[in-house]
């Protein structure tokens, strides 16, 4: 189980990794599979890796990506093409070698005696919750998942969640799968119906904030995973701060997963939109 995520047992390392596969799974979305034995064996759900997209000078900064799944020495990263770095990632081919720093950050944590968890994903927010859903299910925790996306085909990792969850509820902006509209509506209903011990949320920051508000009203503890621009990824540069009740916290080491109630949403900033 994943209690350990709270105090990651592993230390990050710089690791040379090899591309095992790179598959397009939806328009502008792909899965990159990396041979990264050290990181794959150490990573905990919700942690991330800091990827060097290419040698040379095209990218001065690494790019942070959550680990979607990890097994047998392989890491899966679910990525969305947004800018130059993710475009370069989408062009990576089998056998290419790159490097990463990881595993990094504080992942999801499960309270003792967790019986029923509600996972809420929005778009690519499905990525960092994959490993968690698998581990929770394997440990006998009941998992309900609410997924939202613009369209049916953008409901990435839906298969994974359907395989392990007791129930998966879908919402799409265009109604092409599940109900039409935002995922917040089904979440509201689920909270009214069910009795959850813990919520896990990842997606656009505005969605996370709304869902966190619902969790609070329903008195369900809620964890969120926040994105920030990151230079170092290891806690040194202070580029990734999140405003919390305890002051500024670094998303790369004290996050990316935070307890929703600690986050001061008003003053936190989203990365530039595309």
């Amino acid at each position: 189980m994943c209690e350990q995520a709270d105090t990651p047992a592993s230390r990050p390392a710089l690791e040379r990794v090899r591309v095992l596969g790179n598959e397009r799974i939806a328009p502008g979305v792909g899965i990159l599979t990396l041979h990264a034995p050290r990181c794959a064996s150490e990573v905990r759900p919700g942690q991330f890796v800091h990827l060097r997209v290419a040698e040379g000078r095209d990218f001065i900064l690494r790019r942070p990506f959550s680990v979607h799944r990890a097994q047998d020495g392989a890491l899966e990263i679910l990525y969305q093409v947004l800018g130059s770095g993710t475009r370069a990632i989408s062009l990576l081919e089998r056998e290419q070698v790159l490097d990463l720093v990881g595993p990094l950050g504080r992942g999801w944590s499960a309270p003792a005696g967790l019986a029923h968890a509600l996972i809420v994903t929005g778009g690519l927010g499905a990525a960092p919750l994959g490993m968690l859903a698998e581990e929770l299910a394997a440990a006998g925790v009941a998992v309900t998942v609410a997924m939202g996306a613009p369209t049916q085909e953008r409901l990435v990792a839906r298969g994974l969640y359907e395989a392990v969850a007791r129930r998966v509820v879908l919402a799409t902006d265009d109604g092409s799968a599940g109900e039409r509209g935002f995922v917040t509506a089904p979440v509201q209903r689920l909270l009214a119906e069910g009795s959850f011990d813990q919520m896990y949320v990842c997606g656009p920051e505005v969605m996370q904030r709304l869902v966190a508000g619902m969790a609070k009203e329903a008195s369900v503890p809620c964890q969120v995973s926040l994105e920030r621009l990151m230079a170092c990824g290891i806690g040194a540069c202070l580029s990734c701060v999140v405003s919390t009740r305890d002051g500024l916290k670094r998303a790369c080491v004290e996050g990316p997963v935070f307890n929703a109630e600690d986050v001061l949403w008003d003053s936190s900033e989203v990365p530039p939109k595309h």
């Binding site: 230390r11 990050p12 390392a13 710089l14 060097r52 000078r57 990218f59 001065i60 900064l61 690494r62 720093v101 920030r228 621009l229 230079a231 170092c232 990824g233 290891i234 806690g235 040194a236 540069c237 202070l238 580029s239 701060v241 500024l248 080491v253 936190s268 900033e269 990365p271 530039p272 939109k273 595309h274």
Partner: protein
């Protein structure tokens, strides 16, 4: 051949010329998984102020061509917390690593107060006084852009310490030599060159500045030519040693700074791309020396052939 990597930076003995650039290495702890801290010539800490500073709003960074902008704004927990946490950690985990504390302030008095407090700590090897941060409104770069301001801060700090006092200058000036001369005259034991160039980045898609504070400091390989030029100009004109930095990614880059006249060099942005960058730079300098039959790294300083 036996290679002597040590350098004397004023009265400071460094086992090699490679130190960390302030603000890019925190106080070392975060890099302990990646580098053997005690192999560094010295650590230069992030900027420390008298009281805690909250820094600027986010987003605080942006990537640019061969560089990055930052507007962290010297967020730090203040000198007391620094001593209790960072300095204590360093004393325990890297006792033989010289610690150079980077000092910030809004006024000459504030700089002086930080130093006054640090004078009571035996584990501080030297000060780097940052009169060049482009990311704070009062203090910071304001002092570094006028000879009077630069001299005022330097003199205020000089009075309080006999430890080596290094003043970090901003490149955003018309005449860097003039500023450097004024801090030398005011008692500095060395100068650090360069802090970041003031820059800006715009996202055409959103029509917004990429940094919340609009402008920020440009670092990385993009600025290396400007940094080398200033190191060369200042080291040619001054008696006191120069700590050179700006875009150093490899041992060869570091050698270029030494040749231009730096006595030691700092690695900054490179540590974000590669957390082991400082070690690679040390190894790269050694390789260069071996390949070029250089027995003492200190012989490289200012060894540029200009004819």
């Amino acid at each position: 051949m036996n290679l002597d990597m040590s350098v004397r930076f004023g009265s400071l003995e460094l086992k090699n010329p490679v130190v960390t650039a302030s603000g890019t290495f925190a106080s070392g702890r975060e890099f302990a998984d990646f580098v053997d801290l005690q192999r560094l010539g010295a650590i230069v800490t992030k900027g420390v102020s008298l009281e805690p500073w909250a820094g600027n709003a986010s987003p605080r960074i942006a990537e640019t061509a061969s560089g990055m902008l930052n507007s962290i704004g010297l967020q730090n927990p203040g000198v007391e917390a620094f001593i209790a946490k960072d300095l204590a950690w360093l004393s325990e985990h890297a006792p033989r690593l010289p610690v150079i504390v980077n000092v910030s302030g809004h006024s000459a008095n504030e700089y002086a107060s930080v130093i006054e407090r640090l004078e009571r700590e035996s584990s501080v090897a030297a000060y780097e006084v940052n009169i060049s941060c482009p990311n704070v409104d009062a203090g910071g770069m304001v002092f570094g852009t006028s000879c009077l301001g630069a001299a005022e801060v330097t003199a205020a700090c000089r009075k309080l310490t006999t430890r080596p006092l290094i003043v970090k200058l901003t490149p955003n000036v018309t005449d860097i030599v003039e500023i450097a001369r004024s801090v030398e005259a005011a008692g500095a034991d060395g100068v650090s060159l360069i802090n970041t160039l003031l820059g800006m980045s715009i996202d055409a898609a959103t029509r917004r500045p990429r940094l919340a504070r609009v402008v920020g400091g440009l670092s990385g390989p993009a600025i290396k030519p400007v940094a080398l030029r200033m190191v060369w100009q200042v080291s040619s004109a001054l008696e006191i040693p120069v700590l050179g930095m700006g875009g150093i990614m490899t041992g060869e880059d570091a050698v270029e700074f030494l040749l231009a006249g730096a006595t030691a060099v700092a690695v900054g942005t490179a540590s974000f791309v590669d957390p082991t960058a400082t070690m690679r730079v040390i190894d790269g300098i050694a390789e260069y020396c071996h390949a070029n039959n250089i027995e003492r790294v200190s012989d490289l300083s200012g060894a540029l052939i200009e004819s």
